[in-house]
């Protein structure tokens, strides 16, 4: 043990937050996203010796998606069921200083309900669109990084994101949830 695992952690831990975003959306029913993140890193560490550089964010996302799919296949469940987050999990983003903020209770409740509805509607999209929206809009990947993680052309990602966003907005409108309507 020594330099190799430290080099691995130095190279990959900065991306923990984006892997977490991917894992939360990719985790199947009954699958703990934290376990999925840990398994992703262990799998990545096992393959770090043969890793030839490239974009580590895309590499980690590809591993995370593969782990989620594999586990979903094993469980014979849909891999992209988006878990309904508990209310404390959908509080607005914590501030950089770690403070709790002073969000109005009503705002918090509304935000929680909205996130639950968004998760439900997102789960209704076709898997390719869900994957692209999850990577680009939720986890903050560029279209090129998402294309690398998914092994498809960048244009395909853009098209799927566009179609997925429109469908998501339509589903939310049908459900009576409004988001950023101009």
């Amino acid at each position: 043990m020594g330099a190799d695992h430290r080099a691995f952690l130095d190279a990959t831990i900065p991306y923990l937050d984006v892997v977490w975003q991917v894992a939360r959306q990719a985790a199947g029913e009954g699958q703990d996203p934290e376990d999925l993140v840990q398994e992703t890193y262990l799998r990545a560490y096992a393959g770090f010796g043969s890793y030839r550089g490239g974009n580590p964010r895309a590499w980690l996302a590809a591993i995370c998606l593969n782990v989620a799919r594999s586990q979903a296949r094993r469980r014979r469940r849909r891999p992209w069921e988006v878990p309904s987050p508990a209310l404390p999990d959908v509080l607005p983003w914590s501030r950089a200083d770690g403070g709790q903020g002073t969000a109005d209770v009503a705002d918090v409740v509304i935000a929680g309900l909205a996130a639950e509805e968004v998760a439900r509607c997102l789960a209704l999209l076709p898997e390719p669109q869900r994957e692209c929206i999850m990577l680009v809009d939720v986890a903050g990947y560029t279209a090129r990084e998402a294309a690398e993680a998914l092994g498809c052309p960048r244009g395909t990602v853009l098209a799927r994101v566009h179609r997925g966003r429109r469908r998501l907005a339509q589903l939310l409108a049908e459900a009576g949830v409004s988001h950023g309507q101009p």
Binding site: M1, G2, D4, H5, F8, I13, L16, D17, W20, Q21, R24, E34, D35, V37, Q38, E39, Y41, L42, R43, Y45, A46, V67, A68, S70, Q71, R73, R74, V82, P85, D89, V90, W93, A114, A115, V118, A119, I133, M134, D137, V138, G140, A143, G155, L158, A159, V161, H162, R163, R165, R166, R167, L168, A169, L172, A173, S178, H179, G180, Q181, P182
Partner: protein
């Protein structure tokens, strides 16, 4: 997706050159279906962003610890001579482990840390210390000592204070929850598992405590009580003092 939609997607992604983007802008002013598509795209993007969450505190520590345990296990597996029953793995254990996993199709089903640890270790022992115990000891060794200016809690009457957040790992096939407590200037790790912690080779049984044992791993003293819920306390104190220290910790 038709060419119209592709053009819109490229426009929204900022892929169009200035002249094309200007033409698209002008078109949007006149074409209600396209303008609706743009509004829906923006609304969908904003809605999806509601799902963003920061990673939970402690997840980075948990991941780093799991990787460190895997690295320890890998090193131990490389150093240990292979037993006869596994002689076919001799030479290049990493590659053959991987091949075996792939052949069995087990890696593809999301190998849990349990399996990773078990296979990487080639058993459950790291030298004379079982993997689960070694993982707890490694975690306890990684905790930095309290600084000189850190608040000291009177050893005689102070209540234990939890440091950080619980970390969950699996080692030697055994799920373990690790908590760190501070008592005075001493920090102790309390590991809890549903499975008993195996005794290291040089551990001593504790008279009258059933499955309890004590051991020394490096500078750490270990004190374990196995039962329906097993607890292992690890702290950098003399072995003779650990039982008294453990008595002040919130054990089951």
């Amino acid at each position: 997706m038709d060419s119209h939609d592709r053009l819109l997607a490229a426009f929204l992604a900022g892929d169009l050159d200035p002249a094309e983007a200007r033409r698209c802008d002008e078109h949007l002013l006149e074409c209600e279906p396209c303008w609706r598509a743009v509004r829906e795209d923006r609304a969908g993007r904003q809605a999806a962003q509601v799902l963003r969450q920061p990673a939970p505190p402690g997840l980075a520590d948990r991941v780093a610890f799991a990787v460190e345990v895997a690295a320890t296990a890998r090193t131990a597996a490389q150093r240990q001579p292979c037993p006869p029953a596994r002689s076919r793995w001799r030479g290049r254990p990493g590659r053959r482990l991987h091949r075996r996993l792939a052949g069995a199709g087990m890696l593809a089903v999301g190998v849990a840390v349990t399996l990773t640890m078990t296979l990487l270790l080639g058993g459950h022992q790291t030298g004379s210390v079982p993997a689960a115990v070694a993982a707890v000891a490694r975690y306890a060794q990684a905790i930095p000592p309290p600084g000189r200016d850190q608040q000291s809690y009177p050893a005689g009457r102070g209540a234990p204070v939890e440091v950080g957040r619980p970390v969950t790992v699996t080692a030697g096939g055994q799920p373990i929850v690790l908590r760190t407590w501070r008592l005075g200037r001493t920090e102790a790790v309390v590991a809890v598992s549903d499975h008993p912690f195996p005794m290291p080779a040089d551990a001593q049984g504790v008279p009258g405590r059933g499955m309890a044992w004590t051991a020394q791993v490096g500078t750490l003293a270990l004190y374990c009580v196995n039962g329906s819920t097993s607890e292992l306390v690890a702290a950098p104190v003399p072995a003779a003092e650990l039982a008294a220290l453990a008595a002040r910790l919130p054990l089951a």
